[in-house]
Amino acid sequence: MHISEGVLSAPVLIAGALGTGIGTFIGLKKISVEKVPQIALLSAAFFVASLVHVPLGPSSVHLVLNGLVGILLGLATFPALLVGLFLQALIFQFGGLTTLGVNTFNMAFPGVVVYYLFGPLVRSSRSLIAGVGAFLAGALAILLSGILVAFELTFTGESFKAAAKLILAAHLPVMIIEGIVTVLLVSFLKKVRPEIFGQEV
């Protein structure tokens, strides 16, 4: 979920921008020039995937997939998502310039975390282990994003606590769906193009 402009306090915005700045700096260093088109096209693919609405009962949720981005791109997750969110801000007015740092951090940091925690599991040749790893990666990345958003709101002011709880609760069903979709996606990619998992930067 993208945090809108004008909500968070200055210290939170600055911390988010710093975190994303450092993450992007390290990520860019890891991307060699010949990898630029690859990261960019995957970033574009995930941008399009995030527009996909998945039915959930009478309503629908849109995919986030930051867990899978993390697994596939490792540290390059930061620049890839930064570019994606920047474009979303320009094209749809989702998020914005001042919240770009915070929003990127909220999605990319969990991606990098699940990359280190579950990357080896997902890469396992045994499909059960890979499946469990993929579910945890997909679900935990969302949970972590939700926790970060809630934390940032609470830090901005005590009166945002209720909103923080609501938003965290809204993340729970998304978490399950993301977990399932990530499992299915990983099994698809492993069958069709296993090389993709060997290419993380």
């Binding site: 574009a44 399009v48 998945v54 989702f94 909103a163 698809f188 990619l189 069709v192 290419q199």
Partner: protein, 242 residues
């Protein structure tokens, strides 16, 4: 939708980007109501100079996301203070209502102004501007490629979706639907990955040697400089005054 040749449309994207960023920062971090009123004068000027229609802005504001709704409906009830109204056992405070209003005002001001300043340039122009401002070239290249192939990949996705629809696919809340969605997205990822390799090869075939040549250069004209100076002065002035 866009009127041709408005002032902002012909303005240097670097100037516009700097102003948009400065404006967004100042408005985002303030809780001072009089500063917001002064800032809205700046917004109004930008709106008038943009040449974009009222309807266009309305559409943009309509997209204000779910997030703001969460914040706005909870704030009046969670902020302690003098009670103004009550819904069942929940009491809304005066302070809470005014905080909710302040955030709503700030959020919309920023959206309107950045739209006026940035939607009058194409994304490619903005990316060029960023290249000339301060961003590392690898990040700008990433931005270029992502935006360029966004369209290709989006069309690819709609064609795949059509292929599913033609074969009588109707999305529902079940595993079959989730699997189908995963296959569609997975296809997109695999194809993008393979295309990226062909794109890199196409670059090699045109003697790419590791540095991206830049073709376009911007030229600051007098009116760009004047607009920039006016904007920065005004924004800094209201920040100091309030």
């Amino acid at each position: 939708m866009k009127k041709e040749n408005s002032f902002l449309k012909s303005c240097d994207p670097r100037v516009k980007f700097v102003l948009a960023l400065l404006y967004a920062i100042i408005v985002a971090i303030t809780y001072n109501f009089s500063l917001l009123v002064l800032a809205s004068i700046f917004s109004l000027i930008c709106l008038l100079l943009s040449g974009l229609s009222f309807f266009y802005y309305l559409k943009r504001l309509g997209l204000v996301n779910l997030f703001l709704v969460f914040v706005l409906i909870t704030l009046p009830f969670t902020t302690p203070g003098e009670e103004v109204f009550k819904i069942k056992f929940l009491s809304a405070s005066k302070e809470g209502v005014s905080l909710a209003f302040l955030i709503f005002f700030k959020s919309n001001l920023i959206i309107l102004t950045t739209t006026a300043l940035l939607s009058t340039s194409s994304i490619f122009e903005l990316a060029h501007a960023l290249h000339h401002l301060f961003l590392p070239s690898k990040l700008v290249q990433l931005l270029f490629f992502t935006f360029r192939y966004l369209h290709v990949i989006e069309k690819e996705f709609w064609r795949l979706k059509d292929a599913a629809v033609v074969r009588c696919f109707v999305p529902r809340t079940n595993l079959f639907t989730y699997r189908t969605m995963a296959y569609l997205v997975g296809s997109l990822i695999v194809r993008s990955y393979d295309r990226s390799q062909r794109v890199y090869e196409a670059m090699l075939c045109r003697s790419f040697n590791g540095t991206f040549p830049v073709y376009h250069h911007f030229h600051l004209r007098k009116k760009d400089i004047l607009f920039g100076i006016f904007g920065v002065t005004y924004l800094v002035a209201i920040l100091i005054l309030c």
